[in-house]
C-alpha cells in the first residue's frame, strides 16, 4: 500500500515537473498582448502622435522589438518605460507622469474647468440680481417725490455757447447734469452699475441739481456779474463717462488693428508656397527658421550676374549671403562649386556640388559640375559617365545637350577604375614641352621655420598685364616638399578652350588653409623675378620669400 502511494506520488511529481517544464519552454501566450500594451503607451519618435503599437514605421517596429526583448528578459512594464524615458526623455510617454512638472498637465485642465464653472455661476448670479435691482430702481425712480425732480422738469431756455454770463454757466451745468443722470439711468438699466454705485451717484447728481436750481433762482433777472468760480466744484464731479467710453473705443480699435495686422501677416505667411521641406508655416517670423526671403533671392540674382561678368569676389560675397540665410540653397552651392573650379580647388568644388545635389538630386548645373570634376580632375570615368548619361536624359535637345553628348563621347570607355590616370581626351589639347613653363620652387632659408607641413602650394599663372581677375592657369600641390620642380601647361588652364600661350606672370603661394580664394596671415608667397615669362621657357625658378601679414 505504502509502495503504491509512493509510486503514485512519484508519478504526480513527474507529471508536475513535465507540465511546468512545458510552461517554460513554450512562448508566453500573453507576450504579444503585454508588448502591445506597453507599446501603446510609448510615442513613436518619427510620426506625430502615434504610439509605437500603431505606427507602421521601421523605427516603431524596432522599438517594439526592444519592448518584447526586455519583457522576455523579465523586466517589468515600468522598467521598460523608464528605459525609453532614459533615452528619449518624458516626451516618449503618451501619458505624461503624474509627478513633478508633468503633474501640472494632469491637474491644470481640472483646475481651469472648476474655475470656469465657478466664474460662470458667479456671472449668471450677478446678472440675475442686477436685473431684479434695475427693475426695483426704475419703479423707485418713477415714485420719486416731485420736489426732488422739479429741477429736471423745469423748462429753461438753452444758453448761447458764447455767452459767458453767470446764468449761462449755470444753465450749461444744468444741461450737463441732466445728461449725466440720463446716462446713469441707462448704465444702471443695462446692468453696468451695481445698486450701491447707482444710488450714490444718483444722489450726488440730484444734490448738485438742487443746489444749482437754487442758485439759478437766486440770480437777478438779467445778471451782468462775472461767472462765479465753479471750477473747484466741477473737479469734484464724478469722472466723465463719455471720456472713458472713448478710451474703450480707442483701445478696442487698436486691438482690432493689431489683430488684423497679425492675421494678415500670418495668413500670407501660411499660404505662401513653401521653399523647402524645412520651411515652416511661419517662416522666420517667430522661430528664426531661415526661409528664402526676397533679400535672399536678390542676393542670388546678384551673385549670378556677378558670376556672368566674371566678377568672382563679388559673386562669392553674394552667394555667401544667400547661404547665410538659406544654408541648403542648391543653386548657391552649385555656383560656389564653379567658382572653386575656377580657383583650382577641385575637392572643395566637389563638396559644394554634393551639397547642392543632396538638396536637389537632379539639378542639371550641379550634375554637370560634379561630372566634370570626376572626369577631368578625379579621372573617375565610370562615375562621370553615369552622371553625364543621367544629365543627357534630362536636358532637352539643344546646344547644352549637344555639349553634354560631346563630353560624354570624349570620356574613355573602360577606364572605370578610380584614380586611374586616363589618357587625354581625343579633342583635349595635348600638353607638350613647348606649351609649358617649368622650373624650380625653393624657400628662402630665413623662412624655412615658417613652413606649415600641411599647407598647399598654388602655382598661379596670369596673362602679362592682367593684375586681377581669374588666373589663366592654376596648379595645386598638397603638402609639397622643397625644392620642388614644377611644370605648368595647357592641362592646368581653368577655362576650357583658353590657349596657354604668350607672356605669362607666374606667382606662387604656400597657403596654410588650402583655400585658394583666401589669403591668410602666415601664408608664404613668391613670384618669378623675371616676370613675364614666355610659354615654353624652362628654368623659371621662384623663391617663396614673402610672408603675408
Amino acid at each position: 500500500m505504502r509502495t503504491m502511494l509512493l509510486r503514485t506520488l512519484f508519478g504526480l511529481c513527474v507529471l508536475f515537473a513535465l507540465s511546468t517544464s512545458n510552461l517554460h519552454a513554450a512562448p508566453a501566450p500573453d507576450l504579444e498582448d503585454r508588448t502591445r500594451e506597453i507599446a501603446s503607451e510609448l510615442r513613436c519618435v518619427v510620426c506625430q502622435n502615434l504610439s509605437i503599437a500603431d505606427s507602421p514605421s521601421e523605427m516603431a517596429q524596432q522599438m517594439r522589438a526592444v519592448v518584447r526583448e526586455q519583457l522576455e528578459a523579465g523586466k517589468s512594464p515600468q522598467e521598460i518605460k523608464d528605459f525609453f524615458v532614459s533615452k528619449y526623455g518624458e516626451w516618449v510617454l503618451l501619458k505624461p507622469k503624474t509627478s513633478g512638472v508633468s503633474l501640472l498637465l494632469w491637474v491644470l485642465p481640472y483646475v481651469v474647468l472648476v474655475v470656469g464653472v465657478i466664474a460662470a455661476l458667479w456671472i449668471i448670479r450677478r446678472w440675475v440680481s442686477k436685473k431684479k435691482s434695475a427693475q426695483a430702481a426704475v419703479s423707485a425712480a418713477t415714485s420719486q417725490s416731485p420736489v426732488d425732480r422739479a429741477w429736471l422738469k423745469q423748462d429753461l431756455p438753452e444758453p448761447d455757447l458764447d455767452d459767458n454770463s453767470a446764468k449761462a454757466q449755470l444753465l450749461h451745468n444744468r444741461t450737463r447734469l441732466k445728461n449725466e443722470i440720463s446716462e446713469l439711468e441707462f448704465d444702471f438699466q443695462s446692468g453696468k452699475l451695481s445698486d450701491a454705485d447707482y444710488n450714490a451717484l444718483k444722489q450726488e447728481i440730484e444734490t448738485k441739481g438742487m443746489t444749482l436750481h437754487q442758485q439759478l433762482d437766486a440770480l437777478p433777472p438779467e445778471p451782468t456779474l462775472k461767472a462765479p468760480k465753479r471750477k473747484s466744484a466741477d473737479q469734484k464731479l464724478p469722472p466723465d463717462r463719455n471720456r472713458i467710453r472713448r478710451w474703450q473705443l480707442v483701445i478696442g480699435g487698436v486691438f482690432l488693428m493689431l489683430f488684423g495686422l497679425a492675421l494678415g501677416v500670418m495668413l500670407t505667411k501660411s499660404v505662401r508656397p513653401r521653399e523647402s521641406s524645412n520651411d515652416t508655416m511661419t517662416g522666420d517670423f517667430l522661430t528664426g527658421t531661415n526661409s528664402p526671403s526676397g533679400e535672399t533671392r536678390a542676393a542670388l540674382t546678384e551673385g549670378k550676374q556677378a558670376f556672368a561678368r566674371q566678377e568672382f569676389p563679388k559673386a562669392i560675397e553674394a552667394f555667401k549671403k544667400v547661404l547665410a540665410t538659406d544654408p541648403s540653397n542648391p543653386e548657391a552651392h552649385s555656383y560656389m562649386g564653379f567658382i572653386l573650379i575656377q580657383a583650382g580647388h577641385a575637392d572643395g568644388a566637389l563638396m559644394a556640388f554634393d551639397r547642392a545635389l543632396s538638396q536637389a538630386p537632379n539639378l542639371p548645373m550641379a550634375l554637370w559640375g560634379k561630372a566634370m570634376i570626376l572626369y577631368r580632375e578625379k579621372k573617375d570615368f565610370a562615375a562621370a559617365r553615369e552622371i553625364f548619361e543621367n544629365l543627357l536624359s534630362r536636358v532637352p535637345p539643344g546646344e547644352e545637350r549637344n555639349e553634354i553628348a560631346k563630353v560624354l563621347a570624349e570620356i574613355p570607355t573602360g577606364g572605370a577604375q578610380k584614380s586611374q590616370r586616363a589618357s587625354p581626351a581625343p579633342n583635349a589639347p595635348v600638353a607638350s614641352s613647348s606649351a609649358q613653363i617649368s622650373g624650380k620652387i625653393t624657400i628662402d632659408p630665413k623662412l624655412k621655420a615658417s613652413v606649415d607641413p600641411n599647407a598647399s602650394l598654388f602655382i598661379i599663372a596670369r596673362p602679362a598685364g592682367a593684375a586681377a581677375g581669374p588666373p589663366l592657369a592654376v596648379k595645386k600641390i598638397d603638402k609639397p616638399t622643397f625644392p620642388l620642380n614644377y611644370t605648368l601647361g595647357q592641362e592646368n588652364v581653368m577655362m576650357q578652350g583658353t590657349p596657354f600661350t604668350g607672356k605669362i606672370n607666374i606667382t606662387v603661394r604656400l597657403d596654410k588653409d588650402g583655400n585658394p580664394t583666401t589669403r591668410g596671415p602666415g601664408d608664404l608667397t613668391g613670384d618669378n623675378k623675371k616676370n613675364p615669362a614666355e610659354v615654353g621657357t624652362k628654368n623659371v625658378d621662384i623663391v617663396l620669400d614673402q610672408v603675408t601679414k
Partner: protein, 188 residues
Amino acid sequence: MPWRRLAIIAFIIGPILALLAFGFTRDARYITSPLIAKFATPFTITLFDGRKLTLDDLRGKAVFLNFWASWCPPCRAEARDLEAAWQKLKDKNMVFLGIALQDTDQNALEFLKEFNVTYLNGKDEAGKIAVDYGTWGIPESFFIDPQGRITYKHVGAIRAALVMAKLEEAAKGIVSAQEGRGDYQPIR
C-alpha cells in the same frame, strides 16, 4: 470699473497668447536628448570589413559617432566634410565611427565608396544602437570623451570645422549642454 474689467480680460487672455507664441517657437518634431553628459551606452558592432568592435575598445580616445543612411540627403551633404575632418584628425588620439541605419549593405557600401569614406563604419542591424542613443533624426552625431561620456550631440548635417572643434573639446572632457542642429530628416 472698466479698467478693472480690462485688467481681468488681459489677465486671462495674456497667458493664453503667451502660450500660443511659445508654441510657435517650438519644433514639435524635435526631441531633446537626455543623454548629454551621461555615459554612452556600450555596444558591439560588426564593421563592413567583418571585424567586430565594441565601444569599450575605444575607451581612452575621443570618439565621433555618426548615425547615417545612404537614402538620407543631409547625410550625403555632410559625407565629404566628415572624411575631410577625419583626414585631419586621424593621427591624433581620436576615432571616427559611422553607423548605418535602416540601410542595405549594398547601398551603404556604395555610399562609402562614392564619398571615399575611410574611417570605421558598420551597420546597426536591429536598430538597437539607435534606440540606445535616442536617435530619431538622421544624420545624428555624438561626441564621446576618453572616459566614455557623451559631451555633445548634433542633429543634422555637420561641417568639418565643427566636428574638429567639438572633438577637441571632447578630448578635453568639455561638455556642451546645448545640442547642435543642422538639416536633418526623421528616420523611417
